[in-house]
């Protein structure tokens, strides 16, 4: 019983962090129809920056998200304005190739500047745990989970309570309608790409504490994140939440009760099954395609 509670608790903690990382990816897709394959590379890039800053200054890595998040917002904004905007009119596949190119470039840059080594930040609490009864909750996971929750909450508030957020959601649902009421589609696109990158800012700082990483780690991360949003339904924030929790639980449960080597297969199998039943994922919706008149 304790083991079951422990397993589920760990799955939820890790799922929350996955949710944050996937939220930016699904948001960008929902609004722009672009799958940002570079999201994983953003995470690793930020993790590297966080690690370096922590090494030099000794500031807590998760607290460093206060700096990396706005930084990545800026990076996302600039990257969109300079590069990504050029493929908005192209097919989704071309924009995926472009962001894949960006991901390789980031990996290459990290290789050249930081070297092909594993790193991980080790603040004092990294090996400590909270114990509730006989359930052990590692402090790093808990802090990471709380930070992810906080940023997801902020994201929710921004999207639902601010004019900007409503403009973003309006654009996602009906671009031409949004344009009619004076929302600049290109500003919204830049904003959402920047917000997507900003979630990678927080996510990357958390990653720096939770897992060792090196430049090529981004393949593993993007594979996870893509799986999550395909499962949840591309473009759906709720779907990202649910997909992330399913992945977190699938990982911990197969590792505890089965063999960890099958956790990836189990997760992909779940995705395939869901797609057979619901081609648009758990929360994917079809918008009215003929709504031109």
């Amino acid at each position: 019983m304790t083991q079951a509670v422990q397993t589920v608790a760990l799955g939820v903690l890790i799922g929350g962090v996955y949710a944050l990382m996937a939220a930016g990816l699904t948001l960008v897709f929902g609004i722009m129809g672009i799958v940002n394959v570079a999201q994983g590379a953003f995470l690793v890039l930020v993790a590297m920056l966080t690690w370096k800053a922590w090494q030099v200054t000794g500031i807590d890595p998760i607290l460093l998200a206060l700096a990396t998040t706005p930084l990545m917002f800026g990076v996302g904004w600039v990257l969109y304005r300079l590069v990504v905007v050029r493929v908005r009119a192209s097919s989704p596949a071309m924009s995926m190739l472009l962001t894949f190119g960006i991901a390789l470039t980031i990996e290459g840059l990290l290789n050249v500047t930081a070297g092909n080594y594993f790193r991980s930040a080790t603040p004092p609490y990294f090996a400590q745990s909270f114990t509730i009864g006989s359930v052990v909750l590692p402090k790093a996971q808990v802090y990471g989970f709380l930070a992810a929750l906080l940023v997801l909450g902020l994201l929710y508030l921004v999207l639902n309570r601010t004019w900007t957020g409503r403009a973003i959601r309006a654009t996602a649902q009906n671009p031409s309608g949004a344009a009619l009421v004076g929302i600049s589609a290109s500003t919204v696109a830049a904003l959402s790409f920047a917000i997507g990158a900003a979630t990678a800012g927080t996510g990357g700082s958390i990653l720096a504490v939770l897992y060792p990483f090196f430049p090529a780690s981004h393949y593993d991360w993007i594979a996870k994140l893509l799986g999550i949003i395909v499962l949840g339904g591309m473009g759906s924030l709720r779907g990202a939440w649910v997909g992330a929790l399913i992945l977190g639980l699938a990982e911990t449960i197969t590792a505890t009760y089965g063999s960890p080597r099958w956790s990836t297969v189990v997760f992909y199998a779940v995705i395939l099954l869901v797609l057979i039943v619901r081609p648009h994922g758990l929360f994917g919706t079809r918008l009215r395609e003929d709504a031109v008149a």
Binding site: S129, L210, A255
Partner: protein, 406 residues
């Protein structure tokens, strides 16, 4: 429009021909030829997935080359080392070794890093009847293909990597011996055979296996794996870890607050500061690992190698660089003793003789499989000490049982 693409196609062909010609002209030294330098070729993963060990191997080879040249060269000729980058890619490494052999006409080859690349590379060498001394590639299947030119310049293959640990456990008084053991390993062609073999040996020595699991190479989340492994409080905990997974597992162990009496990992603890930074310096106390090399080991030339490495690269020498250096030593010994560059004669000589290296003395079976044994090392007081075998050992003391995590 159609004609234009013809022209383009022709231009492509011309360009391709030009490339081939220029590549052909670029090809260097001819074989044999009295007093010119001896050309030694290798292809290493300087970029891509295996670039970390690849870069270290290059350092080891270069230190070896400069040492040989400073001492007057091989057979009185200077050694010219040609290193190409295979980008951790099997196709490229085949093209690379083919180029080294057939176009650059190198006199001798040195191997690459990681079994995955050496599988493909050694086949090219074998087909061209070139001696292939590899500094890595411990997967047992390397030696089941009946190759005659392949020699692995480490003490033994993976299944024998942890033999020293078994010996030590057996040497403990009956009352103190660990009774139960848990084994986890990355699904990796090197680490898995080490742990599987260790498990068999320890079971034969009377230990009871309470848990054993294999996890995929890209695993990041170690809490569930470690939680499941320590559920029955094993006395001995062994992990087949490359690097990041070794760090991850130690962190998870500390987080769940379980400290086994004996803690053994493969490669990870051999990474010096990177390892102690990753797990926390005070958490290294008592961690055991097996290794082909240690800076502290009292083997011939080892101190010079380490000193030279520190001087050049301003950091602690690594096992990968040492293995590469040792591969150079093997080649050097064979050429010097045979007295000429005759690939088959060199291979025959290596099969019949023992070579002293900084890893200790090496000798080989007919299939190129090494027949020595690895060192066992332990982190003590923030430093690595060699605890066995006796000739290489730097201390008599073994920390046992391992103290609790700080």
């Amino acid at each position: 429009m159609r004609e234009r693409s013809v022209r383009l196609r022709l231009r492509a062909l011309v360009a391709c021909a030009a490339l081939l010609v220029s590549a052909g002209c670029g090809g260097g030294g001819q074989a044999g030829g009295g007093g010119g330098p001896i050309l030694i070729g290798t292809s290493l993963p300087l970029t891509g997935q295996f670039s970390q060990p690849g870069g270290e191997a290059r350092r080891g080879y270069e230190i070896w080359r400069d040492r040989v040249n400073a001492a007057g060269g091989l057979l009185g000729r200077q050694v010219d080392l040609r290193v190409t980058d295979d980008a951790s890619n099997q196709d490229t490494i085949i093209a690379d070794y083919t180029k080294l052999i057939t176009q650059d006409k190198v006199d001798l080859l040195l191997g690459s890093f990681s079994s995955l690349l050496n599988y493909a590379a050694s086949a090219v060498a074998e087909r061209n009847q070139m001696l292939f001394v590899e500094p890595a590639g411990a997967a047992p299947n390397m030696f089941t293909r009946g190759f005659k030119m392949l020699f692995f310049a480490q003490p033994a293959t993976a299944p024998h990597h942890a033999d020293g640990v078994t010996e030590w456990v057996k040497s403990l008084p009956e009352a103190q011996r660990p009774r139960t053991a848990a084994f986890i390993t990355q699904d990796d062609p090197f680490t898995r055979p080490v742990i599987e073999s260790l498990q068999r040996q320890l079971e034969a020595a009377g230990l009871r296996t309470v848990h054993s699991t294999v996890y995929p190479a890209n695993t990041t989340n170690f809490q569930p794996i470690v939680s499941a492994a320590v559920a029955e409080s094993p006395d001995l905990f062994a992990q087949g870890a490359q690097f990041e997974d070794g760090i991850g597992a130690v962190r998870a162990l500390r987080q769940v607050g379980f400290s086994p009496k004996v803690f053994f990992q493969t490669n990870a603890p051999g990474n010096g500061n990177q390892y102690s930074d990753g797990v926390g310096k005070d958490a290294t106390e008592g961690v055991l690992y097996s290794t082909s090399w240690s800076e502290a080991a009292k083997t011939p030339v080892n101190a010079e190698f380490a000193q030279e490495y520190r001087k050049r690269f301003n950091g602690p020498p690594t096992e990968d660089a040492a293995d590469a250096f040792a591969a150079g030593q093997v080649l050097q010994e064979a050429v010097t003793k045979v007295g000429r560059i005759d690939q088959v004669a060199l291979a025959d000589w290596l099969r019949a003789n023992e070579v002293p290296t900084i890893l200790g003395p090496l000798r080989w079976a007919a299939n190129g499989e090494p027949q020595s044994s690895y060192m066992v090392a332990q982190w003590q007081n923030g430093k690595v000490e060699v605890v066995s075998p006796k000739p290489a050992a730097t201390t008599d003391r073994i920390v046992f049982p391992k103290p609790a995590w700080p």
